[in-house]
Symmetry: C2
Subunit: 324 residues, 2 copies
């Protein structure tokens, strides 16, 4: 059995040592760049933890785990173009640094390289792993499509939003865990349970992200507080506020949504005050806890060593208390 820190070291070492092909530097420099920006390596770590939970071959799963991280970073590279985002993890985005064409093409190459790594999996698992990965990858595209559509729409419901974050974020976490289970030759029941665990964990994790954007400690969180408010992003909190606000509150919310002035700090401050009046933080935290509890229920049902399950339980706990 591996400690979480050992799995994390394996992932980071494998990523650092991958040269991602040196044959055409214009194509691969952006790949190396985005992979070097760091991040929590959440998805590969979860894949390996799931594989270890079911006593699978960690070193066989490692290239697949890196493939999943490549895929995740491919989606970030392309999403950043679509969102016209200039900064990612405190550094210029790939399209800001190399231009859009490079970011499109290097992203395409990353997706193919991800498939290359995923295809290294043992023959016995290959077809099932590909099936889960293909479905997962398509979901992420559908989620991004929904996310873009929401920007233009005034009729987004809380359910639409939960469905979007499920597609865009939760299913990749779920799929990573399931792939780890398949490599470990887990029973179908266990593989489905760990998938469901990941889906619920992923939704909970994204809801936490929405909450932290507004209520997080900016030093720990590493982002400007209220970015979602400034950009009128249709997060759970905003959609819930739209649902609950009435009369003057609703007018104020609409006023700040259309506000084009320079005092964005005032916008953030007043919208937060409004959220506080409506109890939005508590509602969002309750929703987040609901999914976190569903995730832990899934985990409890999995038939595996309790000691190994504890690793995942504490990891899930640690993920959901990033703020303190």
């Amino acid at each position: 059995m591996y400690l979480l820190s050992q799995l994390q070291d394996l992932v980071n070492k494998q990523i650092a040592e991958s040269d991602f092909n040196f044959s055409a530097s214009e194509l691969y420099d952006p790949v190396k760049y985005i992979m070097s920006l760091g991040g929590k390596r959440l998805r590969p770590n979860l894949l390996l933890m799931s594989c270890d939970l079911f006593k699978g071959p960690i070193l066989d799963a490692l290239p697949v785990a890196v493939g999943i991280e490549l895929f995740h970073n491919f989606t970030l590279m392309h999403d950043d173009i679509m969102d016209k985002a200039p900064i990612r993890r405190g550094k210029p985005t790939v399209h800001a640094k190399w231009g859009e064409s490079s970011a499109i093409l290097s992203g395409d190459a990353m997706l193919i390289e991800a498939y290359k790594l995923i295809s290294t999996v043992d023959m016995a698992a290959l077809r099932d792993v590909l099936k889960v990965f293909n479905e997962t990858a398509i979901s992420v595209c559908e989620g991004q499509q929904a996310d873009m559509r929401f920007e233009e729409s005034n009729h987004v419901t809380i359910n639409d939003y939960l469905d979007m974050i499920r597609l865009k974020t939760a299913i990749l976490i779920a799929g990573s865990l399931k792939i780890g289970a398949i490599i470990a030759n887990a029973t179908p029941e266990n593989a489905d349970l760990i998938y469901s665990f990941g889906e619920n964990l992923g939704i909970s994790f994204q809801l936490q992200d929405d909450i932290l954007d507004i209520y997080g400690n900016p030093e720990k969180f590493g982002k400007r507080v209220g970015g979602d408010i400034i950009s009128n992003k249709k997060t759970f909190l905003r959609l819930k506020a739209m649902e609950l606000a009435e009369g003057l509150d609703l007018e104020e919310l609409m006023y700040w949504s259309e506000y084009k002035g320079d005092d964005q700090d005032a916008k953030v401050k007043e919208v937060i005050a409004l959220y506080n009046r409506l109890g939005i933080r508590e509602i969002a935290e309750k929703e987040m806890s609901k999914f976190a509890e569903l995730a832990l229920l899934d985990l409890r049902e999995i038939k595996a060593d309790e000691e190994r399950k504890d690793v995942l339980t504490s990891f899930a706990d640690s993920l959901l208390i990033r703020e303190a």
Copy 2:
């Protein structure tokens, strides 16, 4: 054994009947659109012909063939963004019609759908097919990268150019043929020969395209004559002219390269006159024939029924006399 026309019908029918997933129409409408624009379906037809040459299961190969055509159209969708091309096959390009973000994201979904179809192949062939496809797909990206790099460079040699069209065009044709052979359980020697046949055929085919752009019958070719001259595209013909032109000829070539005036017809006319003085057409046709002959030599070495080989031989012949 299948007739070419039967294989073509199979491909066209399978493409027409594929709904390419209806779950998120914004994501899939561009896919259906680009797939409906037609084209020769060269790659899937070659894949099936190769499979039939080695007496393989055509109906099992059919979804893989459509996967290859999806992949090819994905590259067109993304290339059109990078090239800022407004028109493809006489219709607006996807990014012109739906915007860049949609063209990026629908292209990504197409690449994943291509992998889905390719992953349907029989277990015995799955790993080998994926290996060939992964390498092929990466080559196409590297070729596109080289093509974009050439636009900015003044030091492109004929060899650089041949290498670029090999990566961007020929290897996908070669890979399609090899995948058909693998599905048919051909010997490794035969699979390598059909790959080499495709590589040489593909280079020959692209050289013909360069020639037809300037010397083709515009009614048969369906494009404006001299488009490559107007855009100063570094094709085989232009690079050869740069290599051979001296004195006043070279000055004239440079003059027209830098020409920003309105009389593009004069530019086309004068550059063609210059090419004629330098014998560029003959040199290009000789180079094209060289690769066509290499392709036919490969085909001759393949150990298979002569009758079945004839289908491929006549198809190769028909490809290389589109103009008449």
